[in-house]
Every structure is written in structure tokens, then in C-alpha cells.
Symmetry: C2
Subunit: 272 residues, 2 copies
């Protein structure tokens, strides 16, 4: 899906993909910045733990955000029919920030996809509500997402499987746990199909805070690796044999540390 249309004269909400394993015990750099953005002491954070199958994922984030101050609650959405309940939609509409937990991104796309909950997240974000997601929750924010794939540094014919995501932005593909799980080959594979889009690989405890103008800043302990295929002169994906290593010529790569920025529209990177 393309991003939902914004009401005129309202800034879109921020989009905040997090690379997973964000600090939850010490200074909570990423979570507290998201909470501040969502109103601080006046924040109402709505947590969507659907990607996870652990019963304590929702309560755990509620506890973290309540420790910071303000209100937090989670919704239980385990089957598609849950997404049609007025009660669930009402809770979403009262949120100032939406937080999507980790787990399996295909649980998010198969359970939320096409339902009133997915449509509401899209229209709320278009109209000023911030949406953060960690790990699987980061993958799902984009139009084209990586559903699965192989670890390792080399892009291969079978290196990534793609699926449609929530479509809050159509300018990026996100990969997470990036350095920790050695995923640069998988991200490059995802870009090799159609190089119209930039890829960002987000390390653990690291986030891209994407503002309404489409500029993100790196926040957290790790780095974000941007792979921009705009100047690609060749991708061998169309004639690669099964499992073959791919040839990709002319990618631009930026490795961005904390405070560095990237404009997802102009594809320019800026040091701090």
C-alpha cells in the first residue's frame, strides 16, 4: 500500500523502526525518546504485541512506558476477527503513539493485513500519530518488507523472501538485528529485485527516527547501514540460477553512527 493520505495542514506522524533488543533496563534512550515525542507525561502509548507469541510481551512494554510516566496499554490481536472489534479500534484511536513489538513479521501481515486495524494504523500515522516498531515491528512499517532469508555477507538468488507490509512508507526496506545477524547479503538481495528503493540495516539497540519530512536521525548504541541502489548499473537477479551468488554493480553505501542523518527522499546522508 502507499502511505494513507494526510489531512491537509497536519504533519504526518514520525515512523521509528528499531533494530531489536533496545535497552529496557538502563537509560532507555530509544524508548524514552519515542515516549517524549508522543507527549511525555501526557502520552498514551498503545502496544501491539501480535508479532510475539509470548504472553508477557504486552505487559512488559506497558510496565516500561508506565515507569517513564503517562499511560500505556496493549491490545490482544491474535486472530483476524479481533481486528474487527470496535473496542480494539477505539483503543487505537485514543493513542498518541503506537508501538509494535518484535516476534514474527508474518504474524503482523497475515493477522492485521487488510483489516480495520491495519487501515487505522495507516490513517492515524498519516494524521500525526507516531508509530514505532522493534525487530518484526520495524520490518512491517514499510510497503515492501523482508519476510525471511539467509544470513551472510553475500547476496544470493534465495537470500531474501519479500512480502507486503503496512506501507507507512514506500521509500525504504528495513532489515533489523543487522550487524548481529550478518544480514547485509539479505538486504542487498531484497534490493536486487527492483532497485527503486533504499535499504536500511539497523543494528540492535539502534533506531531510525524518521520525521514527517522523511529525514531520519540515528539514535542508539549501534549503526544504520544505508544501501542505495539508485546508481546500480547491473543486477543479475533476473538470470541468477537457484542459490547463485548475485552480481550487483554500483550500489552506494553509507554507514551512519549516532546523530548522523539520511533523507529518504533525496537519498542524501549527513554526518552529525
Amino acid at each position: 500500500m502507499c502511505p494513507a493520505e494526510a489531512v491537509q495542514n497536519v504533519d504526518r506522524g514520525w515512523i521509528i523502526p528499531i533494530g531489536g533488543a533496545e535497552d529496557k533496563e538502563n537509560d532507555l534512550t530509544i524508548l524514552s525518546k519515542f515516549w517524549e515525542l508522543s507527549g511525555g507525561k501526557k502520552a498514551k502509548i498503545l502496544i501491539i504485541p501480535t508479532a510475539s507469541q509470548l504472553a508477557d510481551t504486552g505487559p512488559r512494554y506497558v510496565e516500561i512506558f508506565e515507569r517513564l510516566g503517562g499511560k500505556a496499554m496493549y491490545i490482544r490481536v491474535d486472530e483476524r476477527e479481533d481486528c474487527f472489534k470496535d473496542r480494539i479500534q477505539g483503543k487505537l484511536k485514543r493513542a498518541t503513539g503506537i508501538f509494535i513489538t518484535g516476534g514474527n513479521q508474518l504474524r503482523l501481515s497475515t493477522i492485521l493485513g487488510g483489516t480495520p486495524v491495519a487501515k487505522l494504523i495507516r490513517s492515524l500515522n498519516a494524521n500525526g500519530i507516531h508509530v514505532a516498531g522493534t525487530s518484526a515491528g520495524a520490518a512491517i512499517v514499510t510497503e515492501h518488507m523482508i519476510a525471511g532469508g539467509k544470513a551472510g555477507p553475500t547476496p544470493t538468488e534465495d537470500g531474501a523472501t519479500m512480502a507486503p507490509g503496512l506501507g507507512l512508507t514506500n521509500k525504504l526496506i528495513v532489515d533489523q538485528h543487522f550487524r548481529q545477524r550478518d544480514r547485509i547479503g539479505r538486504l542487498m538481495t531484497a534490493l536486487s529485485y527492483n532497485p527503486f528503493i533504499s535499504g536500511i540495516g539497523i543494528d540492535e539497540d539502534t533506531a531510525a527516527f524518521i520525521n514527517p519530512q522523511g529525514i531520519f536521525e540515528v539514535v542508539g548504541a549501534g549503526s544504520i547501514t544505508v544501501v542505495d541502489p539508485a546508481r546500480l548499473t547491473h543486477s543479475s537477479m533476473h538470470d541468477a540460477r537457484h542459490r547463485e551468488n548475485l552480481t550487483l554493480i554500483g550500489m552506494t553505501v553509507h554507514v551512519l553512527g549516532e546523530g548522523a542523518k539520511y533523507d529518504i527522499n533525496t537519498r542524501e546522508a549527513f554526518a552529525e
Copy 2:
């Protein structure tokens, strides 16, 4: 990508995915209807044979459209750098109809994706120029496309691989050679990831003529099978084992013969 924005007060161009193997010898039902829509004797048809690696694909379609009357030409785009040439872009800008041939859809996405040619096709279509594509050329017109997969009636965990297409519409996923290559399992697999979108399986020598309002009519010798997952209550894709058969509960299916219609926005089907 989302469809490009239209200039105000101009109807978008039609989008015409064809299931492959359209009649080229007898009454040319599909090709002549596209030619008429593009101006008939005043038509300037621009053929993009990039998906094919056969040298005579472009000249063959030029010959067919010139037989009907009007003008036709093809462009040679075999590497990404070709897409940056002013001469190629100039030819596109003079077309009243664009025809994308069959071959391998990953040649289209890897060679055209993100280049000025892809952007131009998108903006021309948004501003009234009709775009037809057959086989691989049909797959590429949508935002999410099927890049490959397995034949057979049953959706499976590894039944379809997805990639980003040209994005002229974001309401459909198209599959081609549908009955001839037994692809209903593959189409259902493609929809199982995120059921926000309808799938259409187009038989050979059959086309969906999608008008600017998003209503298509079936034209040609075969049928179009619509799979609408809007009421899906369960997709097992998120916990399927490798190669496992999928469980998909609650799909709506229409089989549409010549003259029947489908509204891709409201998801309603109409008999002739």
C-alpha cells in the same frame, strides 16, 4: 511504489494486463482493442521488449500494430544505462499507448526499476496514457508482483516469490498463463502473506481492461479468476514449515468469463 499522481482533471490511462499468448494471427481481439483505445489510426504504440531476450520480439509487435494501422516502434533497453538516454525517454513521451512484452518479469524490474524509464511510464499512465502488458509485462504493472513460484492447485509455504513491480496499481496482484500453467496455488500463496489485496489469475489470450475508475472487463478467449481475501479469517503463512501446504480460510473466488466485470476498489463482481 504507489501509483504516480495524476494531473487534475485528466483521466488516468487504462491498465491492461494480458495472460500471455494473445492471438496475433486471426482477429487480434485483445491487441486491436488496445490499439483502438490508444487512438486507432492515430495511435503511436511504443513497445518495450526488455523482458524478452529474443531479437525479434520488438519487430514482431511493430509489424502487428502497423498491420492494424497507425504507428508503432520499439525501444531497445537491455541495460540500466539505456534508461538514462534522452532518446529513449523522448520516444516514450510521444506514445499514445505503451505495450510491454512477455519474457521474464525480473528483467523488467531489475533493468527498469527506479530509472527515468520506470518513472516516466508511471507518470504517463497517471496522465492518460494506456499501458498494456502480456505475460511478464502483465505481472510488472502492479506494486507487488509474483516473481516466480510453483505450479499446482495447493498454496504452499514456498509457492510464490514476491518482488516490487512498476506500481501502476496497488489494488491487485496479477498471475498469467493461469489455467494453462495451473497457478491457483501460486496466486493464493502470494495473497497469504498480507491479505489486503485481490489476486487475479488471467488465462492465455485473455485480458483485464482496467478503466480509469478501476473497473475491469474480461476480454478474450479464456477466463479471469479473482481471489479476494478480504474476508479471510486465517492464513497459516506465519507459522508454516518449509514447503508445507498452507491453510487459508474464507477466501472469496469469482471466475469471470468474457464480458464480466470486477471493481478493484469495491471488490464487487458483475456478470455480463
